[in-house]
Subunit: 467 residues, 2 copies
């Protein structure tokens, strides 16, 4: 009954699995039917016994057949599957705008152009994880199958320390906890070091998912405006004096969404105020590796006394890897590790070992070089194209993968975002990044998509006509 | 200056990196020194230019040298590294006993025999992740480098659904969220569906890290004794009537630590009480795949109306993979996905795609078969050895990787655990698994280590002498 085409590009095993699945699912092979033996089927179809055995294993895994020891394979008796057409529609969306944007950017159903996404395109990471590296990791199965320590693999943490030393941040492996990206670092800090009712200062605009996470901790959020030099120190001092905050969460390097990098004087000013008003700082360098390694950080000036430094490899190495770290004063580490055990027990050994090989071999460094060149080129094109379409990019000179651009007066930004979405274009509305500005005239663009003609044509038609 | 031994088993590139690192770190090649060109060094050492280039990349990654475009490579000017001898001592331990046990079992510093660990030995997972599977995943870099959706890869969730259908649990992919093991499922439920002050029923004894996680949610925990048939229904009803709980967290299958599997009648009784007193159930099947797929679950009887079903691949596939899932009523899914975005943004694409291949190819199923045989053999040996040493295993017939055994009267269990630890033997004190019993006479043993002569000799000497 099987028609296997040896000349087809589809492997014979795949053909066999498909045809048997279809016979079973259509009911032509009813539940309880005995299947021919491996030897018999191999003889009849002309494929090897190995191919037949592998096909049987795949059918067993799918639950379509069952094996009765000593008597062979039979078509399984199987409950009717629940109707699955609804699956095509996906999950209902989030009620929170920041989480809605994040989930849309990750999922991409019905999105043809993710122009507002935080994620660079897959093709930009084609060299990120060479098969040779992963094969080397898998060859050492004894290491691969062990759980990593809750704080992360020691050798990986030492490699992270070497990178921090290059940035002038003094740390030992005992200051480092590996995390599932910067997000988990924020989450662990919020769980461990914040209490309901605390006041927390945040960048405005700032990273949207962080704002939602902090809101969920029932703290009072107080915005500190981001300006060209970094943080607005006059407002920071007023707010610190008024509210006696516990923490300032800030992104000093390649700030998301504005691209601003704080000057050394601004960083010094922030740290002086932290000392004067005795607040802690969570310094988010998730985009740090896109910039020059010589840029200053609060952690460098402060030497990890009142600063927790947060880094990520997910943005630069590849978005499919969820891996980052925090570097914190020794006194904070053990409670933060406890919080990680409660949240996930420990991290993915596979991700940690792959990253370790990439860092140690220098492959990460080479990938980063190429990625930075790609961002620089795309940023130039995107700035030009957005200006030509009538938008006003903020003009910050930056290595950031984002452009923060204002729509002209008279344009309804929310309507623009909704109309774009109807055309499959995901835009990121500025208000998602703000505590205060519910009708922001800004959009955040991903440089990789922001000179695409589908976007530029849409913007030109909507913005120039209405302006 | 370089002495490369071509006959050495150590690759020439490794030799070159080591010797250059040592020259730089010892100061014999001072900061700012210019290195020979790739071609020059290749000529002098007789290795290929490719090997020299790779060695330079590794030294660049370590920050030992720097590259100045157009003029070559130089020894980097480098801050003195912070003293790292303290790193050898590791992090300070957790103040919480359950987290202390979990972190010790993961870390294993100073532990020669992890007899109380929840993790089976690496050698039992040597066939878990074939290199061929991982190579296939890496070949499709476009898929690998994309972030997975927050709820998890759709094809993987459909494979999970197929497995649930085999267990008679009706679900569609829209009911499934992939998680970093069962731990993250507990964490998401606690964040989303529990409020401070809620009453939550738990198994007693029960999974230690879960008890600590629930305590952190500021809920009132009420213990329900685990008996041979499952949960003590009379106590469950009393507690449900008295406390009007919001949730019952229970492990019906291969319960950790006791090994008990609830009877179908007991499961039916639990569900009747849940209906009568209107509480929800979190059914933890983290060890479910160790048992027969034909065992009943609350989720099967209830059809995902008031039950959230929690599964894990970490325990069975390999502890280095942090991957599990929850299956929940549709109404709960979107808030749970939001909570996952806030916690980690999304899961590891690498882990998800590797698991997808393992499930679809049938490799998971074959590994599981071998693992179950190993557990059964080890369990038999361990029960016999522990009895001979004077302990009292609870005698439950089970496929659990754990044995729950009582020390004889007159033995100080805490002292026994402390003395074992001095000898490098990690034991799991029963009180860690209990809300109520602070001086439990029980120990939880990992079957893989529990017939080891180092343990049995130690127990025999301590227990039989004192008994």
């Amino acid at each position: 009954v099987f028609q296997l085409a040896k000349s087809s590009p589809k492997p014979l095993g795949d053909q066999l699995v498909e045809q048997m699945s279809s016979l079973i699912e259509s009911g032509r092979l009813p539940a309880g039917s005995r299947l021919p033996s491996v030897r018999d089927l191999a003889g009849r179809t002309g494929v090897s016994a190995y191919t037949v055995t592998t096909a049987f294993e795949r059918l067993l895994a799918k639950g379509l057949i069952e094996s009765r020891p000593g008597s062979g394979h039979f078509v399984a008796s199987r409950r009717a599957l629940a109707g699955s057409s609804e699956v095509e529609l996906g999950l209902p969306p989030s009620a929170d705008p920041a989480l809605g944007l994040a989930r849309s950017a990750l999922d991409r159903r019905n999105i043809s152009l993710p122009a507002g996404s935080g994620v660079l395109p897959p093709a930009w990471f084609n060299d990120a994880i060479p098969t040779s590296i992963v094969s080397r990791v898998c060859a050492d199965w004894a290491a691969l199958t062990m759980p990593s320590p809750a704080e992360g693999d020691l050798i990986l943490r030492e490699l992270v320390v070497e990178r921090l030393h290059l940035r002038g941040v003094p740390a030992s492996a005992n200051n480092i906890i590996m995390t599932a990206g910067a997000s988990q670092a924020f989450d662990l800090i919020a769980r461990t070091l914040l209490c309901p009712g605390d006041t927390v200062l945040v960048d405005d605009p700032g990273y949207s998912v962080l704002l939602t996470r902090l809101n969920a901790a029932h703290v009072q959020l107080v915005p500190v405006p981001k300006i060209t030099e970094g943080s607005a120190l006059d407002v920071l001092e007023d707010m610190a004096r008024l509210h006696r905050p516990r923490f300032f969460f800030t992104q000093t390097l390649l700030h998301n969404p504005t691209g601003v990098t704080a000057s050394v004087a601004n960083i010094h000013g922030i740290l002086q105020l932290a000392d004067k008003y005795n607040f802690l700082i969570a310094e988010d360098h998730a985009y740090g590796d896109f910039g020059s390694p010589h840029l200053a950080s609060i952690a460098q000036l402060d030497e990890l006394r009142r600063v927790i430094y947060i880094g990520s490899f997910s943005k630069v190495l590849c978005p499919g890897m969820r891996i980052g770290f925090l570097a914190a004063p020794s006194a904070c580490i053990s409670p933060l590790v406890d919080a990680k055990v409660l949240a996930v027990l420990h991290g993915s050994t596979l991700d940690e070992l792959v990253l370790r090989e990439l860092l140690a071999s220098g492959k990460y460094r080479k990938h980063l070089q190429r990625l930075r060149e790609r961002v620089a080129k795309a940023r130039h094109l995107a700035n030009t194209a957005l200006r030509a379409a009538g938008l006003h990019p903020n003009g910050v000179s930056s290595d950031s993968p984002f452009i923060w651009a204002r729509v002209p007066d008279g344009i309804d930004n929310s309507r623009l975002v909704a109309e774009a979405r109807e055309r499959g274009i995901l835009l990121a509305h500025g208000s998602v990044f703000s505590l205060t500005n519910r009708s922001s005239p800004y959009l955040r663009f991903n440089v990789a998509y922001a000179s695409d003609s589908r976007l530029i044509d849409f913007l030109t038609a909507r913005v120039q006509v209405n302006a």
